[in-house]
């Protein structure tokens, strides 16, 4: 029995197909990163797994049970969107409220301590900084000692130290045996945390593989140069150093050499249509 199981799921919003026959399985104890541009269908997928929505077709299971049943969600932890905290409530009150849903919650004081919020327990959430709100959001996902945690863009808008602290908390949770499914549109974040990467775009799973394999695809470089005839050429290559070396050794005339990391979107493009752009070396 998997921690999360999504089988042949389709979800539409009016004419828009947010998820198109998606299947995904996450085993217990896995840390899976879901990567994709905005509007790819990541959040919709999470909302199905957390029982907020019903799929139009297909099956969604959380720990082998229907997440639309409240009791199924006893094992689930979820982050509210950062802007979504009830502004007039105090930090401690929000944590106590969420904790009250579980039989054996993490003591509020301990949780505040762990997320560096100990001095802010009496502060209204509306008065927190962006980083503090993010930390509270992730703390809320862990308060019930869940076995599966869904993190939607957990560190968006955080500075480097805030991000590292949250990453540590997520790693710690995973090291204790927890299952994590996180979304991000930062390659870096998925790279830092996940063992397995699922790339989603336009409601479809484009790739589902180990971090290494996906990185090999995604790690392409874009080399731009103008050839002797004055034509601007673009090459997407896995190893720009080797490419440039070959270029120089071959004695080809070129100018205006430019090397850039391929953007995530270009990488996704690579993943979708495997017919590579003109001149690309594979």
């Amino acid at each position: 029995m998997s921690a999360v199981e999504v089988r042949g799921v389709t979800r539409r919003f009016g004419d828009v197909v947010a998820l198109d026959d998606v299947s995904l399985e996450v085993g217990h104890g896995e840390l899976v990163g879901m990567l994709g541009p905005n509007g790819a269908g990541k959040s919709t997928l999470l909302s199905l797994v957390s029982g907020q929505r019903r799929p139009d077709a297909g099956v969604v299971r959380l720990d082998g049970r229907d997440p639309r049943e409240p009791a199924t969600r006893m094992v689930l932890g979820l982050t509210p969107q950062e802007t979504g905290l009830p502004a007039t409530l105090r930090v401690r009150e929000v944590i106590d409220f969420v904790a009250g849903h579980y039989p054996d919650p993490v003591p509020t004081g301990e949780l505040l301590e762990q997320f560096g919020l100990a001095d802010l327990g009496k502060r209204q959430t509306g008065a927190l900084s962006g980083g503090q709100k993010r930390r509270l959001a992730v703390a809320l996902s862990l308060v019930g000692r869940p076995s599966v945690v869904l993190l939607d863009e957990p560190t968006t808008g955080l500075d480097v130290s805030g991000r590292t602290a949250l990453w540590d908390a997520i790693r710690q949770y995973h090291a204790d045996g927890g299952t994590v499914l996180l979304t991000s549109h930062y390659l870096e974040e998925v790279q830092a945390l996940a063992e397995r990467v699922v790339v989603v775009d336009r409601g479809k799973v484009l790739a589902d593989d180990s971090l290494e394999t996906v990185l090999r695809h995604v790690g392409v470089r874009r080399v731009l140069l103008t050839d002797a005839a004055g034509t601007r050429q673009e090459h997407l290559v896995p190893d720009s150093d080797a490419f440039v070396r070959d270029l120089v050794t071959s004695g080809t005339v070129f100018r205006d050499l430019e090397i850039r990391g391929a953007s995530l979107e270009e990488a996704f493009g690579q993943l979708v249509n495997h017919d590579t752009p003109e001149g690309a070396v594979r």
């Binding site: 919003f13 009016g14 828009v16 947010a18 909302s47 957390s50 029982g51 907020q52 929505r53 019903r54 409240p70 009791a71 199924t72 969600r73 006893m74 094992v75 689930l76 979820l78 982050t79 509210p80 969107q81 802007t83 979504g84 905290l85 009830p86 007039t88 409530l89 009150e93 409220f97 969420v98 009250g100 849903h101 579980y102 039989p103 054996d104 209204q124 809320l140 019930g144 000692r145 076995s147 204790d176 045996g177 927890g178």
Partner: protein, 259 residues
């Protein structure tokens, strides 16, 4: 990961109490919501009852008027707080998170009903004081307590109707719908004008409304004037219907609609 039971949610009562505390805190931290609830019925009282000496100086008429306005206050608070309040809540980003917590619609609805009751009581307080100081309305302590108990029980179907509206419509649509529902129902139920002034056909319709049933039960509790025989069954019937509608509306609601 731990040995505790994770196959069922926390007990219903514990969850209801938890959600009640949460909702109460959220409401009370926005003072204007509480004040508005207290001011509106009091102003109505000063404009429509106190100046009419014929009503204000007659203990039975005055008590009945206070009862009618109290019920109007409770209906309006319930429909606005729940119709509009729920519709607004559903548009907040915290709402999907709330719905993903391991609790069904039950505790949240119970908490909403109780929270509605508490803030209705806040609204009644000034009405009772005005009735006592500026009119001849009189009740014994027993009648007062019976009246408060009755009005809380009577508020249940209106809270549920409010929730049905709130879970079915967007905030923009909920506002006019609440107004369209509230005022005809209050009028037909005899909350503004005593139903004794109604022609026979209107009185017949009136007796089928939850407002009239609630009003007559409330008047019975506070003055002893007997309610019509069908008042209780009518009110129970509406309550049952609104329980079903509110539950269906909650289940069909999937957060914000994306188009």
């Amino acid at each position: 990961m731990s040995a505790t039971d994770r196959t069922r949610t926390q007990p219903f009562l514990a969850l209801s109490w938890l959600h009640l505390k949460y909702q109460f805190l959220e409401t009370v931290r926005i003072p204007i919501a509480v004040l508005g609830n207290m001011l509106f019925p009091s102003l109505t009282m000063f404009f429509f009852v106190v100046p009419q000496t014929g009503v204000a100086n007659n203990p039975l008429f005055a008590t009945t008027a206070v009862a009618g306005l109290s019920l109007f206050a409770v209906c309006s608070a319930s429909l606005f707080t729940y119709g509009l309040g729920v519709a607004e809540d559903r548009q907040l980003p915290f709402y999907p998170f709330l719905r993903s917590l391991p609790a069904g619609p039950g505790p949240q609805m119970v908490a909403r009903v109780l929270n509605g009751g508490i803030f209705s009581l806040f609204g009644l307080l000034p009405l009772i004081i005005i009735g006592w100081l500026f009119t001849s309305a009189t009740v014994t302590l027993g009648q007062l307590l019976a009246g408060i108990g009755t009005i809380l029980a009577v508020s249940v179907p209106f809270v549920l109707l409010g929730m049905t509206i709130g879970y079915s419509l967007s905030a923009k649509a909920a506002l006019p719908v609440v107004q369209i529902v509230l005022f005809p129902m209050a009028f037909a139920g005899g909350l503004f004008l005593p139903p004794q002034m109604f022609p026979g056909w209107l009185d017949a319709i009136s007796q089928a409304t939850p407002t009239r049933a609630g009003r007559d039960l409330l008047v019975q509790a506070t003055t002893g004037a007997e309610a019509y025989a069908l008042a209780l069954p009518v009110l129970a019937g509406w309550t049952l219907l609104f329980v079903v509608l509110a539950t269906v509306a909650y289940r069909n609601d999937e957060g914000r609609r994306f188009r």
